[in-house]
């Protein structure tokens, strides 16, 4: 069996075991979920090790007929970009399970439901990155909404049902626009003699499309992805969803699911519609820059800690999108690395925020204060996560943000310069809450908060370790990513601008 299929099958096996477990034995359910996700992570690491850095094209390829009448295949394969994102997903899931050990208990349904949904979601997260068939991708893209919807609506807090519905309707709307484009591609591919959804074959379709047609099809995909990786002005669902979901679900939502949007921009928008991508680039770069600044400003003003993290993510997704549409290989590599790093720094922020919220029963920033004295380990974890989010040199996000800005500057200097202000704003939106929540006098009522438990430390340690290690030594990941981004850049006729030497005096 292909390793990707195996990776997708494992969580489903776990789900089957959970279904068999007795309802009263909550601990057993959690243990099954933990063991399963750790196994998946190990297989994922093994896959990364056995990935051939130098080979071009997709690896671990598998292709079976699924619905031959429509030319649909169950086709899997990964290039460097997809591999890195799968690795991120499978690493984050067990961390989410450990960190949110008690998350499933405040919900509307039993823990069995929670962990079944989580494991099914893991399968779909792997599938969505591993598909090399556009139709199969769409199936995962849409179907994964269902478990997330129930995870938010069933186990979240506050006005969780409304947030879940908002999330679902936004995503469905985008998904249906994408469906129209997929039907368009299908009909066009059939008309030009190749009834297939294979991404490699379809990447040549743009040569026969009229510019008008290509633009329209591009927009169907792009809007869906811009909703997913929320780009201003399609972002309004994210803060609500992130606030209402459990911290663990939020990690998966912002860390993994939203990446499907930016991943889709690379894999589908750029590959399938290179000309249209070029046409729309000025507009998209503008939107991305607006997102960077707008998200940052909202984050500065945020009073709720979960909304704050959601707004910072909108800013970060602006960076990622800008790097992608700069169409340079540094930008592309930077964006992919950014996706990975953002997954981990957001996970750190959300998980520590989750620990803080469970202790204080409030997510308002001003309710915290002086945590540095009361709970030093928790406070330091939050501080490091925050520094990573503002891209401090030496932490992982710095490398990727720098690459994105360099990659953008060579082509769009103005956008890159404006976006740099985002870094300044990032310092504000992280340091202000750090000052309010961690430093200063201890807010009354917080004196007796307990510091992180062993379980919480175990959950947060690998995340912070990853952030630090990748900050100093990002090349293992970049070695995986670079060939893939160069392939995408060169294959579709983009090119890196030639370096210009300033005329020396």
């Amino acid at each position: 069996m292909n390793i990707l299929s195996f990776l997708m099958l494992l969580p489903l096996i776990g789900t089957a075991f959970i279904a068999l477990a007795p309802k009263t034995n909550v601990l057993l359910t959690k243990q099954i979920a933990l063991v399963t996700t750790i196994l998946v992570a190990l297989v994922g690491i093994y896959m990364t090790i056995s990935f051939d850095f130098n080979a071009k094209g997709f690896q671990f390829v598998e292709s079976r007929e699924w619905i031959p009448a429509f030319g649909i295949k169950y086709a899997l394969g990964v290039d460097g970009i997809a591999l890195v994102l799968i690795l991120m997903s499978v690493l984050l899931t067990p961390i989410v399970v450990v960190a949110g050990w008690n998350e499933s208990e405040g919900g509307r349904w039993s823990s069995k439901v929670f962990y079944s949904l989580l494991l099914v979601l893991e399968t779909m997260m792997i599938g969505v990155f591993a598909s090399t068939d556009v139709f199969l991708f769409y199936v995962f893209f849409e179907a994964m909404l269902v478990p997330v919807y129930f995870l938010i609506g069933g186990f979240g807090s506050g006005d969780r049902a409304a947030a879940a519905v908002k999330f679902l309707l936004y995503s469905l709307f985008g998904g249906l626009l994408m469906l129209a484009s997929i039907i368009g591609i299908y009909v066009m591919a059939t008309r030009y003699g190749n009834r297939t959804f294979d991404i490699t074959t379809l990447s040549q379709l743009h040569t026969v499309l009229t510019p008008m047609m290509e633009n329209v099809l591009f927009l169907g995909f792009f809007i869906a992805f811009a909703i997913k990786a929320p780009l201003w002005p399609l972002h309004t669902w994210l803060p609500d969803a992130a606030k209402s979901a459990t911290p663990g679900t939020s990690v998966l939502l912002l860390g993994v699911l939203d990446k499907v949007g930016t991943f889709g921009m690379i894999r589908y928008c750029l590959t399938l519609f290179p000309e249209a991508s070029k046409t729309f680039t000025p507009m998209i770069i503008t939107l991305a820059v607006i997102s960077i600044l707008y998200g940052a400003f909202l984050a500065i003003g945020a009073k709720d800690i979960k909304r704050l993290i959601a707004y910072t993510s909108i800013s970060h997704f602006g960076f990622i999108t800008m790097g992608i549409f700069a169409m340079t290989s540094q930008g592309m590599s930077g964006s992919t690395l950014y996706m990975f790093n953002h997954g981990f720094s957001t996970a750190a922020l959300f998980l520590v925020a989750g620990f803080m919220i469970t202790r204080r029963n409030s997510s308002t920033i001003s309710d915290f204060g002086g945590l540095q004295r009361v709970t030093p380990i928790m406070a330091w974890s939050f501080f490091i996560a925050g520094l990573s989010s503002l891209a401090l040199p030496g932490l992982s996000s710095f490398v990727s943000e720098f690459l994105v800005l360099v990659g953008t500057f060579t082509r769009y200097p103005v956008a890159a310069v404006i976006a740099t202000f985002g870094i300044v704003l990032a310092a504000l939106y992280i340091l202000i809450p750090v000052q309010r929540a961690l430093h200063g006098p201890t807010t009354p009522g917080n004196e007796n908060l307990s510091d992180l438990t062993l379980r919480e430390k175990i959950a947060i340690a690998p995340v912070i370790a990853t952030i630090v290690v990748l900050g100093f030594y990002p090349s293992p990941l970049l070695n995986i990513i670079n060939p893939a981004s160069q392939t995408i850049i060169s294959q579709q006729g983009f090119s890196d601008p030639a370096p210009t030497m300033s005329e020396g005096k």
Binding site: I67, V165, L176
Partner: protein, 506 residues
């Protein structure tokens, strides 16, 4: 002197229809002679046996196609066989719902509120006429999509409609509403039939023929007066669009869906739609195909209006049966895109869509019959809140059907939607693709609202509960749910089967 030609009938091909008619007659005889006590069980057995036998005999002749089975009045071909098969399968699973007699009036003839009615309730009478009536309706439905002359088509229309009018009035609770629904259905149906007959007259005037083949050759020859052709197509379409519940001929369906006993609604919503679309596909593909410039713009317009109207109005519904009625109107719009596609893939995708939609519809109405209080079914959506807590499996099944209606991947509805919209777009109708996708987005809103109600709201303590009356209803819902997901996950066998058989014999 007129030469007399003795009629030749191909009984093997006609057998599926004849068996159902025979079963219906047998059912009438049982009503007349068998003791009251044994009627319910024997009727159920006969009905099921008849339908299964008919399906078997249909499978035996699946590879034959002929237009001479009954003097060119009916044509058996791959497409007809698929549609007849779909009708039979859908009928079989909806008969299980009929078996739950709690839905039907004790004595149809008793006036609502009269002493007679009270007496009949005390004696615990059961109407068992529903079984032969259903069989007659099914026979009509099976004849409708294979009829290839206008007279047979009209007879089939009436055979399928009349029993349904009666069945719609047989509800046990809220009998006045049920009878009002029946009367409304009957009156509006009579109007539609009148239009239909008028269309037949015009087409006869145009082509001097009542057979589809004759009309087809007149259209190709182009010698007739096009005004008559246009009027004929228009009036015939009114009759057919009424049956499928397309805007602006939809007014009956919310009231009838709501008033009729839910088991009957299920049959009506699923099987009638299959039959009516089957007939519509045949007449448009076979007779009017070459005159597409006459009717295609109008049908496209109707399809667009139907999709948008059905989806928008469904949002405002507070009653689950009315909501499903408007959703079925929206689906009629989606299905019309298969008619306007006018291609082989249009035909194939329509058949797949009809089958998938029919199965999910029966399942959804099956769930509706389960949610009850002491006064019978609860159809007020607000009282469905918290259903997921009361009985998670029933709520999950219903959510599955709703997701299929909404066209979420891994359900049959998604494959149906994908294939029918691609067929429409392939034949050049961009408007249908765009409108279809957008109205699906609107429709998703109210399907999701019901899911929110069931799963994310707390139950109201007002005596609403889920009652599983018998194994029969359970079978229906289970089979429908399994089929809905199976066809979403691995539709290939069915699609291949449809692809290899779906064709109209001209």
């Amino acid at each position: 002197m007129i030469e007399f030609v003795s009629p030749t009938l191909d009984y093997a091909l006609l057998a599926p229809i004849l068996i159902v008619l025979g079963g219906a007659v047998l059912g009438v005889l049982i009503e007349a002679f068998a003791p009251r006590k044994s009627r319910a069980s024997s009727q159920l057995f006969i009905t099921l046996a008849t339908l299964v036998l008919s399906l078997v005999s249909l499978i035996r002749v699946r590879d034959r196609s002929s237009s001479a089975a009954a003097m060119e009045s009916v044509t058996f071909d791959g497409a007809g066989m698929l549609i007849q098969g779909s009708i039979l399968i859908i009928s079989i699973i909806s008969v299980f719902l009929l078996a739950d007699q709690e839905n039907f009036t004790a004595l149809a003839a008793a006036l609502p509120g009269s002493d007679e009615e009270r007496a009949s309730l005390q004696q615990d009478l059961r109407v068992t006429e529903i079984y032969p009536l259903t069989l007659f309706a099914v026979a009509g439905m099976m004849l409708f999509p294979v009829a290839t002359d206008l007279i047979t088509l009209f007879v089939a229309l009436e055979v399928l409609s009349l029993p349904l009018y009666l069945l719609a009035g047989l509800s046990r609770r809220r009998r006045l509403m049920s009878q009002e629904a029946a009367l409304k259905y009957f009156l509006l149906g009579a109007f539609a039939s009148a239009f239909f007959l008028m269309g037949i007259a015009y087409l006869y005037g145009y082509s001097s023929s009542v057979t589809f083949a004759g009309i087809h050759s007149a259209v190709i020859g182009g010698s007739g007066n096009d005004i008559y052709l246009l009027l004929g197509i228009a009036f015939i379409s009114v009759g057919l669009l009424f049956k499928v519940g397309a805007v602006p001929f939809h007014a009956w369906s919310p009231d009838v869906y709501q008033g009729a006993p839910t088991a009957v609604t299920a049959l009506m919503a699923a099987a009638t739609k299959v039959a009516a679309f089957g007939a519509m596909l045949r007449i448009f593909y076979v007779s009017f195909a070459e005159a597409y410039w006459q009717w295609r713009p109008a049908i496209i317009a109707i399809a667009l209006i139907t999709m948008v109207f059905g989806s928008l109005v469904a949002i405002a519904q507070r009653d689950v049966k009315r909501m499903l009625a408007y959703s079925s109107i929206a689906h009629a719009g989606f299905l019309l895109s298969g008619v306007v596609a006018l291609s082989k893939s249009g035909l194939e995708s329509s058949i797949f869509y009809l089958f998938a939609y029919g199965i999910a519809t029966v399942g959804a109405f099956g769930v509706v019959t389960l949610v009850r209080d002491s006064a019978g079914e609860v159809t007020d959506l607000n009282r469905w809140s918290g259903l997921g807590k009361r009985s998670p499996w029933v709520a999950t099944a219903f959510a599955g059907f709703l997701l299929a209606f909404a066209g979420i991947p891994l359900t049959s509805g998604f494959i149906g939607k994908f294939s029918i919209f691609s067929a429409a777009y392939e034949s050049g109708s961009t408007a249908i693709l765009i409108t279809g996708v957008l109205s699906s987005a609107i429709a998703a809103f109210f399907y999701i609202r019901v899911i929110v109600l069931m799963f994310f709201k707390d139950p109201v303590e007002d005596g609403t509960s889920v009652v599983i009356p018998s194994i029969y209803t359970q079978i229906t819902i289970t089979v429908s749910a399994v089929a809905t997901f199976a066809l979403g996950i691995y539709p290939t066998p069915l699609i291949n089967f449809i692809q290899s058989s779906a064709a109209f014999l001209r």
